[in-house]
Symmetry: D2
Subunit: 219 residues, 4 copies
Amino acid sequence: MNVTVWNEHVHEREGAEAARVYPDGIQATIAAFLGDLGAVRTATLSEPEHGLAAAVLDATDVLLWWGHSVHDEVSDAVVERVVARVWAGMGLVVLHSGHHSKPFKRLMGTTCDLRWRHDERETVWTVAPGHPIADGVPASFVIPEQEMYGEYFDVPPPEQLVFISSFTGGEVFRSGCCWTRGRGRIFFFSPGHETNPVYHQPEVQRVLINGARWAAPVE
Amino acid sequence: MNVTVWNEHVHEREGAEAARVYPDGIQATIAAFLGDLGAVRTATLSEPEHGLAAAVLDATDVLLWWGHSVHDEVSDAVVERVVARVWAGMGLVVLHSGHHSKPFKRLMGTTCDLRWRHDERETVWTVAPGHPIADGVPASFVIPEQEMYGEYFDVPPPEQLVFISSFTGGEVFRSGCCWTRGRGRIFFFSPGHETNPVYHQPEVQRVLINGARWAAPVE
Amino acid sequence: MNVTVWNEHVHEREGAEAARVYPDGIQATIAAFLGDLGAVRTATLSEPEHGLAAAVLDATDVLLWWGHSVHDEVSDAVVERVVARVWAGMGLVVLHSGHHSKPFKRLMGTTCDLRWRHDERETVWTVAPGHPIADGVPASFVIPEQEMYGEYFDVPPPEQLVFISSFTGGEVFRSGCCWTRGRGRIFFFSPGHETNPVYHQPEVQRVLINGARWAAPVE
Amino acid sequence: MNVTVWNEHVHEREGAEAARVYPDGIQATIAAFLGDLGAVRTATLSEPEHGLAAAVLDATDVLLWWGHSVHDEVSDAVVERVVARVWAGMGLVVLHSGHHSKPFKRLMGTTCDLRWRHDERETVWTVAPGHPIADGVPASFVIPEQEMYGEYFDVPPPEQLVFISSFTGGEVFRSGCCWTRGRGRIFFFSPGHETNPVYHQPEVQRVLINGARWAAPVE
């Protein structure tokens, strides 16, 4: 299984909090814990074709996508290439602020808007305990500090809803959602703010390992 | 439109808190605010055939169901009659602890188990703002005191998920869920503890009016 | 309820078969049988802004869309306006070859490709008899001559599947499909070739009347 | 992975056509081609506890179920045991006339009625090409002789619809359907009449191998 972890890789190079939490970039942290799945590479915005040349995408079974501050700088040609690969069967795992990324909005057909607020404790609840993405994930787990993402989340109703989160402010969020587009599978997982050590947390790593495995094409 | 509100009507006759909040029974409170929908009658456990004789059910477009402490005393013959009417098109709105009622479990095919705890503040969030049951319901509203119902709620994945609730303890719950069985539509709405004035709250009344209207057969 | 029937209106002006079956354009035939729903207007490609100026769309509860040979001539600005109105609650009923229209593909996030072949008998089967769109529609009905549309139909899994068709060649097609995007509801109905009198058939008219009513915004 | 193939095993012992097509019983034919999945055993109605003692079910990851003429002879105690195991995660693959079996009806909460007629050619179409159960299955394939099963099929809307069939009479049928109940996954596949060599056909075998693999619990 070939995995590509894409990250805009902007916040972590600007120093401050994100650089401290993810000194080599979010993509490196994620690639490290996905290592058991097979061959894992990373790609970032500043590389030629954002590191997503046709040959790379053609060889990718599952693409993970983290973006936030520079969604608009992703070239439309690369977006269409990603989308076409999803239609052909490539899995796509969209992370946190990637909800507003071009490929995700393109595949959903909606605004993908949501409410948000900084610095909240998030509790993630499993609502589909038999789903492959919930395998080995506890009935609930806490992320001590995380940006609040709240409903209404403007996406098509998930085909499978795996996780729902609550926040200390009382908000709720459909935090683990599955869709299909063509032959491809899409998993969105909302925890993952760049200044919080979310991707260092074992439960989150388990979710993303499961998510990448679930999203992989069947053949 | 003919509506029948069924309630076991046990707690409210035993005095104490439930009697104070619903002196004439939960069924009377609900029937009163559903009055604009058409002809509304009530039925309770202690009546012959629990007030659900074949002639009553045949003339019912939507049945609302509140039960809690005496689920097992509902006769299987009446349960099968209710289920057959749902299959033929009658709408069914299941309320709160009705999650463990015989007709609901029979129609779901699962245990319908959940977590619970007393005396919590519940916040209800709309996650399907274009759904008829969300019509006129705010993006979120608070129920000041309500029993906590939490995930995992062991029901088949809702065909439409309209509301998700959070509680002060951090729990979440799929509190407004829709299914179809045969020609019939089923709406489950979880708020409604017998010692809390939940059914006196305008937002809850709006949800149940919408729910009954949505569940009504199309012809 | 305000309904707008949009048609590219090209085939029927080029004479021959389409002109004979729909002398005033498909839009006029459809508008006529939708008359009981409220105020019905028509709009076509050749009008300024394709007849879909912001004021028209803002006043439209449900938009029906027929297009085929000139999908690419629909301006992107109008497409984005239609899409934004769907997100805000406007219903959209997409007809036949409209499966490849810009608004539909934009809202689905897929190619919307399918198989096709001319001149087949189609049998439409109701697979959701309790759904509002099936109200008064027989368990099955035959369209004597119709273009064959066959699977695989590359759309997201319908949120509700109301009709499935078979063809004399043995093909099948999910011919009546529902989705939501934002607050808006989308119904796709596949029968409707421009050289066959499909829209003169009472069962088809019943489906589209139901479809427009179902797609209307709730408030 | 431990697989148990259950068959009432009545028709094939009564001689005539079924005995000719499946001389050792349908269960033996199915068990043979599932052999690569792991340990496969068979069980039949006439064995003590129908061959489904608690110890057998506890050790079963996926149960396949073929029944037809003696559904009512299956003991309710065994049915409840099967249902409880599905809720706990055991996969269930229901075959053909098993649509009217007690466990399936119990888990669906509907009548599971359908139309039927003898001796038809069936064409199976894949409508979810990226689904694991469609892996390696062609876009369509023909079963030369098969009982016709037609809509309306009275089951809850499938959570995933993988196959739709057509018949020479023009009927259609949702022939490959997925649901979840509790932690368990259920796959129904309609082809499989006892007097037709359906289970000797490679495409059908591929579907059932995939179906058993898909239904297996995740852990």
